[in-house]
Amino acid sequence: MEADDAPRGTHRRVIHVFVALVLVILATSGIPTLHPSQDLIREWLDPLVDGIGLWQGQWALFGPEADKINVSIVGVVEFADGERTEWRHPNWHDLSPREKFRFFRYMEYTDGIWRDSNGGAWPAFADYVVRERPHPTDPSIAVTRVSLWRQSVVIPPPRAPLRPIADPFPIVEQQVFYSRVYER
């Protein structure tokens, strides 16, 4: 049955068209990819969907393969006198639930910044690190180099005996993902 005040005539037709359009947009961007043609349609509709603010991803949510990398980002600033300063984000392990909530956006940022697809944001991040971590005693001493490091561990598959959850996997890899040398 329909509601007593259900619209009729033109009003109803407008709603039909509008809902159909919204559903097409939701479906093309949000439905899981079952066929490569969906990607083509997405690519084609992308400018429109971006332009009206209705884009969405495909809701993988820890699938198809579970996330399995723990990453820390470190910014290192080197100075002409050999001094070094470091920028580090909070250690997620040490945070209380309230702090994890408060710093959620930092987690998102550090989870993404090291990826190659975000390389365009590395120079600005390096600039920020240089500004935030000046020379500890003499700000006039020149910066010679800034480097952004990714420290990570890929969680290995479970093997008996299982490593207890109370004993987190330590960082085992270090890699510079961006570096800039300053001319003297």
Partner: protein
């Protein structure tokens, strides 16, 4: 069955789907729940506003343009890049959200909440994730939902003026958008997991429970995640529950069970994982499904909840 007859049936079913009566009190709850979460969301962003969106943080405007589709624009590209402008935009977003919470011309407020969520997300994509897409889409759907009739400034004013209570029911079509979007999240999550060998092999929870950012909120017994049988059980339980939710929510006979399972599912993940407001937002997204909750509908049909008119035989 002739093609024309079939077409007419589909048309009728589609019209019933879109224009069935829906309880507008639930629209008010949806508005209040959504606005509260959005306010918390903006509140947390406000703690680091200049850091994330200002020119002195790690993501000035030029850098943000480097890591986003060229077709994704933001109003911040044309506004002066000053802290004052940033705070004005942020304040407007918060004001619109508060007014949405109070139900003061809520459709108008919902439009501006949608607009500001969209603009801030396009300004620094790196700090936003799936739940922010859901915030933005829910705000868009809310533009079309008549949420002003109950639990709002308008309702308060109406009562003060001793005006009669408005009709309890509106048409369903805007609610349907919420329902479809919520379903889409479950379908996407279930499908991707079903495609993953680690989920099918029952070991995905091993990896997830070892993540240092997303995992670990409130205390849990260690044995759950230090034993492979328990890890298998938890992984496969997720793999069973998630695909069943979108099905169960749409069938009246299973809806109560699916709603209960979904609430339990989200609250348990909220207890264990650090996914900001995602699970609370999904709980808000379940509210439109309550509108077709059998006992509630029957009580309304019997007139026990007062207000509104529904014809007998409603099959919403």
């Amino acid at each position: 069955m002739k093609a024309t007859e079939f077409g007419a049936r589909v048309g009728r079913a589609w019209n019933e789907f879109l224009f069935a009566p829906f309880d507008l009190r639930l629209a008010a709850w949806l508005r209040i729940g959504f606005a509260l979460l959005t306010l918390i969301n903006f509140g947390v962003l406000g703690l680091d506003l200049e850091f994330w969106f200002g020119s002195t943080g790690p993501m000035p405007l030029d850098a943000s343009r480097e890591v986003i589709d060229s077709s994704s624009h933001t109003i911040f590209e044309i506004l002066p890049q000053t802290a004052t402008v940033l705070w004005i935009c942020y304040s407007l977003a918060v004001i619109h959200t508060v007014l949405l919470l109070l139900g003061f011309f809520p459709r108008f407020q919902a439009f501006w909440v949608f607009f500001w969520l969209w603009q801030f997300q396009h300004r620094n994509m790196m700090i936003f994730d799936g739940e922010d897409q859901l915030f933005r889409l829910f705000a868009f759907f809310m533009i079309f939902l008549p949420t002003h009739r109950f639990d709002s400034v308008h309702a308060w004013w109406r009562e003060r003026q001793n005006q009669p209570e408005p009709t309890r029911f509106g048409t369903a079509w805007a609610f349907r958008l919420f329902q479809i979007q919520t379903t889409l999240v479950y379908v996407g999550a279930a499908w991707s997991k079903l495609m993953g060998s680690e989920w099918r092999d029952g070991i995905a929870m091993w990896y997830i429970s070892r993540l240092d950012d997303a995992w670990g909120k409130f205390p849990l017994p260690d044995f759950l995640f230090d034993s492979l049988p328990w890890i298998h059980l938890l992984t496969w339980a997720t793999l069973v529950v998630e695909p069943l939710l979108p099905l169960g929510l749409w069938f009246p006979r299973t809806r109560w069970l699916a709603l209960g399972a979904a609430v339990l599912f989200h609250l348990s993940l909220e207890y264990t994982m650090n996914l900001f407001l995602f699970h609370w937002l999904m709980l808000v997204g379940l509210i439109p499904f309550v509108a077709t909750f059998g006992k509630h509908r029957e009580r309304v049909l019997r007139g026990e909840n007062g207000g509104g008119v529904m014809r007998a035989g409603d099959r919403t």
